[in-house]
Amino acid sequence: MNGRSRNEEAFPQLLDLIPKDREWHENRAHKFSEERKLELRLGPPGEEEDDVVRGRKESLLSLGYFSASVNGGHTQKPVSPPWASSSKTQNINQQKGVSVSSSFLQPQPSPPANTAVPNSSQKRTAPGPVVGWPPIRSFRKNLASSSTSKVVSQHESQNHQQRVVVEDKVAGKKPVADNNNNVAVGGNKSLFVKINMDGVPIGRKVDLNAYYSYEKLSSAVEELFRDLLAAQRDSCGGGIQNKQEVEKAFIGLLDGSGEYTLVYEDNEGDRMLVGDVPWHMFVSTVKRLRVLKSSELPAFTRGGCKQDKITT
């Protein structure tokens, strides 16, 4: 299962980065000790530092030469990385005849990561609970007794704020009975409803409490479905043209003038045009949203929701 040999010829040899290496590693060691001071810790401060630094020094040494330090010394010697600089490692390479050169690409001649790091490292080491750690599924976190679960939900909402990812502005957690993730980041209750679009097999969910007007909802709908619609059309070929077409598709969602129209199903099961009643009234009665092709609108029936669900 060794694909390496096939790739030997395909890729150029990695250039030896000898001169920069030592400095790079020493810089990194320094940076790490500083980072350590900033980093999140769940134990008393100061304990680990010495040992961590010692550990790192050991690995700095081992970059220069390997093998002697492996426990027991038997079986294989560790493969030295292609960028290792000392003559000892080159000896190892020659002796083993290992095609260490097989698989690599020449990295961009970029400056050491140090310079760009400060922002991101600080972002990652901001104080607070660590996202996704310890690695326990959500449903297990919610099992705990009520007192612990309060702490858990605090952690969870902090985690949501911590998360260094921009999700779709409208995407959010679904209201699931077992899960305490119903709380949106801002601390308000969320109101998720399903929304489907004609011609797009994947439905979405939208939090209506994140908006306060039909215009906002309309642009959110566009954001939700724009890529999916483009992908659908792409699969029939079209490329760039599709993008422009797709953007046009979402104009006039609210007034019936566009290619698509936004409708909703209310708490009585009736299908209604979005925009007739004041926003707060709409939010209190809406159960589900749909983006229909305007050409099919005259057929919208009253009390026909079950049928429509099946045919979508």
């Binding site: 990385p81 961009q108 990561a113 705990a144 995407a171 679904k174 099946i310």
Partner: protein, 579 residues
């Protein structure tokens, strides 16, 4: 010389192939020659796609026209811990649609970490006349309406298993959609559902299905109802109770006990939500029959816990909360000589101080006392190299070892050294180790060991470990059988990644988050390796195109594929698309 080989009829080959079920063997057969490839593809009945984006539904349907069973996995494993944003992908819909038209005789669908809609469930229920098995493991995107369609239309359904999925629970009425004539159910797992399911509907269902062997109820089913249900399914082999709590009533207790005894095949118990200590002893009469016991939802301490576990002399699998403590594990080690799998979950994962007396000693005891122990998942707050070395020496037959020391980067509590030597011993002695999760304070040294000794390792999970690219390089260059690598918060960067680019094509996937990989490296990798999808999950700073190449990437997911870039990437996933 007569060319007998050419006269060998295909039907004979096909008949021979029909005895070969393992995917790897089937794959090997198809590589022998073109005619074997052709014959094999027409008679393959079941496939497993470990990454739904590695291949497209169209390609699968084209190559294997006669499938009866398909398994798909979607999101990366770290999605279980909220590291993958919502709407990342893993949509089952295109697969279901492709299969609906291509495989009218499809019988089994198994999905893991995928997004599935009610519409897809409806499509499944109507497209496959002999549909029998639906397993949705950690899936989401559907509601009980979709389940209603399955119940109503799948006349030959044998297995409906919703394990750990997130289901929008509109009501429990879906269960009533099983028609009165429905008799084929063998396995039902609704443990993840939140709302009440009609007990009447359940009773009716059980009464009609005499072959039911596995029933996992949800938390909302009260203990009193359990007795009736057990009475109707005397052939149960596996039972997941609902809430295991009630007012303390002796007749409920004795009825329950009698009901357990009445299920003469019962070997596996789970559920036990809110388990009240009073009712745990109801299990005693059948403890010696049990081979599998999952008490990991039993969040109350109980003096009966240890006694119960010690009485289960034939136990092979135990999942339990850390309330069992070291003393309980010692008792387990004495009594349960057939134990193969142990999982210990933390009762207070976010507390800073230990709330229970569970340390490395418990695990060491079990490793000493249980010669068949192969699979371990253990959450604890302290560990030592000495303990790990002991465990490794005791259990060279270990195949899955996942240790989570709750505090990141915690050293050996005795010596304050990194745990390199301990984990090194694990990989050195456990020569068949296939899965390993690391924790605690670790330097590049541990990866050197893993690269040297972990020759059978297939999946490695790493967090808050290592010092430099060397660590990553050791693993990628040394672990010959590595399929999945997931890394978070480690100082691994461009050098190791680029130097081992070719290795990535031999693996299913690589996840790296909060590491030191730059956008430049991702671009380069994406550019040079067309058979990899190099996907960057963008954070607030904006798409990588606008960032300097040296800027670091927050989340990176790389996987091999023959299907090219995926068409359903959300706005926050970026991929190199051209110069």
């Amino acid at each position: 010389m007569p060319r007998i080989a050419y006269a060998f009829p295909d039907e004979v080959l096909e008949h021979v192939f029909s005895f070969i079920h393992s995917d790897q063997d089937r794959n090997a057969i198809s590589l022998v020659c073109k005619s074997w490839y052709e014959i094999e593809r027409w008679c393959r009945r079941s496939i497993f796609v470990g990454n739904c984006y590695a291949v497209s539904p169209v390609m699968v349907v084209k190559r294997f026209p006669k499938l009866r069973s398909i398994s798909l996995k979607g999101k990366p494993h770290f999605a279980d811990f909220n590291l993958v944003p919502e709407d990342w992908g893993g949509y089952a819909c295109p697969w279901i649609e492709a299969m609906a038209s291509a495989y009218p005789w499809l019988e089994e669908i198994r999905l893991k970490r995928m997004v599935l809609t009610d519409e897809s469930l409806e499509l499944i229920s109507k497209s496959f006349k002999n549909f029998q098995v639906l397993v949705l493991s950690s899936c989401e995107g559907f509601s009980t309406d979709g389940l209603a369609a399955i119940a109503a239309n799948c006349r030959n359904l044998r297995e409906l298993d919703l394990r750990e999925s997130e289901v929008e629970d509109l009501s429990g009425h879906w269960l009533s959609q099983f028609p009165d004539s429905f008799t084929s159910l063998v396995s039902l797992n609704i443990s993840c559902l939140g709302s009440e399911v009609s007990t009447c509907a359940l009773e009716r269902l059980l009464a009609g299905c005499p072959n039911l062997q596995s029933l996992r109820l949800n938390r909302a089913v009260p203990l009193e109802k359990l007795v009736n249900l057990l009475g109707r399914s005397p052939n149960l082999v596996e039972l997941g109770t609902g809430a295991y709590t009630s007012e303390m009533q002796p007749d409920v207790f004795s009825d329950l006990s009698r009901a357990f005894v009445g299920c003469k095949q019962l070997k596996s118990l789970s559920g036990f939500w809110d388990a009240m200590p009073y009712y745990l002893p109801a299990v005693y009469p059948i403890s010696s029959r049990l081979t599998s016991l999952n008490l990991s939802y039993a969040t109350t301490e109980s003096p009966y816990l240890v006694k119960l576990v010690s009485e289960c002399r034939n136990l092979q699998r135990l999942w339990v909360m850390d309330y069992i403590e070291d003393s309980g594990l010692e008792a387990l080690a004495v009594s349960c000589k057939d134990l193969r799998e142990l999982r210990v979950f933390p009762s207070d994962p976010f507390g800073l101080e230990p709330n229970v007396a569970l340390t490395e000693r418990g695990l060491v005891s079990v490793s000493e006392g249980c010669p068949e122990l192969q699979s371990v998942l253990y959450f604890c707050r302290q560990m030592s190299n000495a303990a790990l070395v002991t465990i490794a020496r005791n259990r060279p037959n270990m195949t899955r070892f996942r240790l989570c020391i709750i505090e990141p980067r915690k050293p050996d509590y005795l010596t304050l050294q990194p745990l390199d030597a301990g984990f090194g011993a694990i990989v050195e002695h456990c020569k068949n180790l296939r899965r390993l999760s690391l924790s605690g304070l670790l330097t590049d040294r541990v990866f050197e060991y893993i690269g040297s000794y972990g020759k059978k390792l297939e999946m490695l999970s790493v967090a808050f470990a290592g010092d430099s690219d060397l660590g990553l390089h050791y693993v990628l260059s040394g672990c010959d059988n590595l399929r999945k690598l997931e890394v978070r918060d480690c100082p691994f960067g461009d050098k190791a990644l680029l130097a081992n680019a070719a290795k990535l094509e031999t693996m299913r996937s690589l996840w790296m988050s909060s590491c030191n990989v730059s956008f430049g490296a991702c671009k380069l990798l994406g550019q040079k390796m067309p058979r990899l999808n190099v996907e960057v999950i963008i954070d607030e700073r904006g798409p990588p195109d606008s960032m300097p190449e040296s800027c670091l990437v927050e989340k990176l997911y790389i996987y091999r594929t023959v299907a090219g870039p995926r068409m359903d990437m959300p706005g926050f996933v970026w991929r190199y698309t051209g110069p």
